[in-house]
């Protein structure tokens, strides 16, 4: 199965945590619960998905179940792009 997590983790580290002793987060951790990404941050994340992998994130896919952790993003991208 193609792994998207490394690129996603780097994007999150670079843009939300800015690499400075930010909170370590597990693959299953909720970005919202860990206060890593807010609403505007999710819009940035969606833009990253669309520009990096060419997916089109539909309005009804803008839900935490798809976007709120590395595991969920992995599953979402796999479902959109294939394994």
């Amino acid at each position: 199965m193609r792994d998207y997590k490394a690129d996603l983790r780097k994007f999150i580290d670079d843009n939300y945590i800015i690499g400075l002793n930010g909170p370590a987060f597990a693959d299953a951790d909720s970005f919202m619960d860990r206060r890593i990404i807010d609403s505007t941050g999710f819009l940035e994340l969606v833009m990253f998905l669309e520009e990096t992998w060419g997916v089109v994130v539909a309005d009804d896919e803008m839900v935490p179940e798809n976007l709120d952790s590395l595991d969920q993003l992995q599953a979402y991208l796999t479902s959109k792009l294939g394994a």
């Binding site: 919202m32 807010d38 609403s39 505007t40 999710f42 819009l43 309005d59 803008m62 839900v63």
Partner: protein, 339 residues
């Protein structure tokens, strides 16, 4: 706790119903007026206050409270319409100012906004989404997602002169540019408010109610900037109660909250809040007082799942708008001036 809403808190066992928001309006008006006199004179050392009046209930109540506290000669009103404002807004603002016997001035800020690029920059961003959008079209922005358990995002709605409507999700860059350009409106208004405050040696009143203040529904250094915010602790329902008590014109007391920022008619509920203001008031009160989603569901006639989504959305907006409230950060306290 000294806040009116806190003082009126019901025992935990009491049912969650709109009555929890009732307050002793007369006592609250006197409390705010005494506070205003104290702060304007002793804390801020100013001679009066400037109030920008939109014609809505919040700014009208603030003006009425200021006139009651300080007298009409110490309150200066500004009506600051621009080309997307409804004419009725200025008419109502003028009606309130004249009813209160205060001095006021109307300044059309459209030329300033035009010169600074507000409309052009906004429209450039809109045309990325809708290439046909032209100056004679209308637009508005509406929130989506959060009210149904999703992640909040914004939709752009445009209307052609023939009435044809289209809508689409605003991509990040265009969303940020539309908001940034539109925020010129609130920031230009605030610049004028401070000009008049400075020339008169007055302070500036900010007019957010509790919903707006709590949920970050303001422009930083725009309508969020002020020296005093006399109704930031009051739920919208309570502001309406004050408006009635203060005898403000019926049109003001009955006015539904709008943004009056975009050319298409737009309620605050559509733009930002998940529910109509009276329901949002009760939801916020319930959340603040540790009431459960099941209690809110019964009170508002919705499912428990929906009520939980409302609570979650309140927290999401607090997180997202933390920056709105943040003061400039210092490396270390400068205690000599900020003790």
């Amino acid at each position: 706790m000294s806040g009116a809403s806190e003082r009126m808190a019901m025992p935990a066992a009491a049912p969650l119903e709109p009555q929890v928001l009732e307050l002793d309006v007369a006592a609250e008006v006197e409390r705010i007026c005494a506070w205003m006199v104290q702060e304007v004179s002793s804390t801020l050392h100013r001679r009066g206050v400037v109030v920008a009046m939109s014609g809505g209930v919040d700014s009208s109540v603030c003006a009425a409270l200021a006139v009651r506290a300080l007298g009409p000669r110490k309150v200066y009103g500004l009506l600051l319409p621009e080309r997307d404002s409804k004419t009725a807004s200025s008419d109502l603002g003028r009606e309130v100012a004249e009813y209160l016997g205060m001095s006021y001035e109307l300044i059309d800020i459209s030329p300033t906004l035009q010169a600074i690029g507000c409309y052009r920059l906004r429209d450039d961003a809109i045309r990325v989404v809708f290439p046909d959008y032209a100056e004679d079209w209308k637009c508005k922005v509406a929130i989506a997602g959060g009210a149904t358990g999703g992640i909040n995002f914004f939709k752009l709605i445009v209307e052609a002169p023939d009435g044809r409507r289209q809508e689409a999700r605003l991509p990040l860059r265009e969303y940020l540019q539309v908001v940034a350009a539109t925020s010129f409106k609130q920031r230009v208004r605030k610049t004028l408010e401070y000009y008049h405050a400075d020339r008169l040696n007055f302070a500036v009143i900010g007019t957010p109610n509790r919903l707006e203040y709590d949920q970050g529904f303001f422009v930083k250094n725009g309508d969020g900037a002020a020296d005093l915010k006399p109704i930031a602790h009051l739920f919208k329902t309570q502001v309406y109660a004050l408006a009635n008590y203060l005898g403000l014109p019926a049109d003001v007391c009955a006015a539904l909250p709008t943004t009056d920022t975009y050319s298409l008619v737009q309620g605050q509920e559509e733009f930002y809040f998940a529910l109509p203001y009276d329901q949002m008031d009760l939801a916020l009160w319930a959340h603040n007082h540790g009431r459960s989603a099941s209690e809110l569901a019964v009170a508002l006639g919705m499912t428990e799942e929906h009520a939980q989504i409302v609570f979650t959305d309140i927290e999401a907006k607090r997180r997202t708008t933390h920056y709105q409230h943040a003061r400039p950060l210092l490396v270390e306290p400068v205690t000599e001036v900020n003790s």
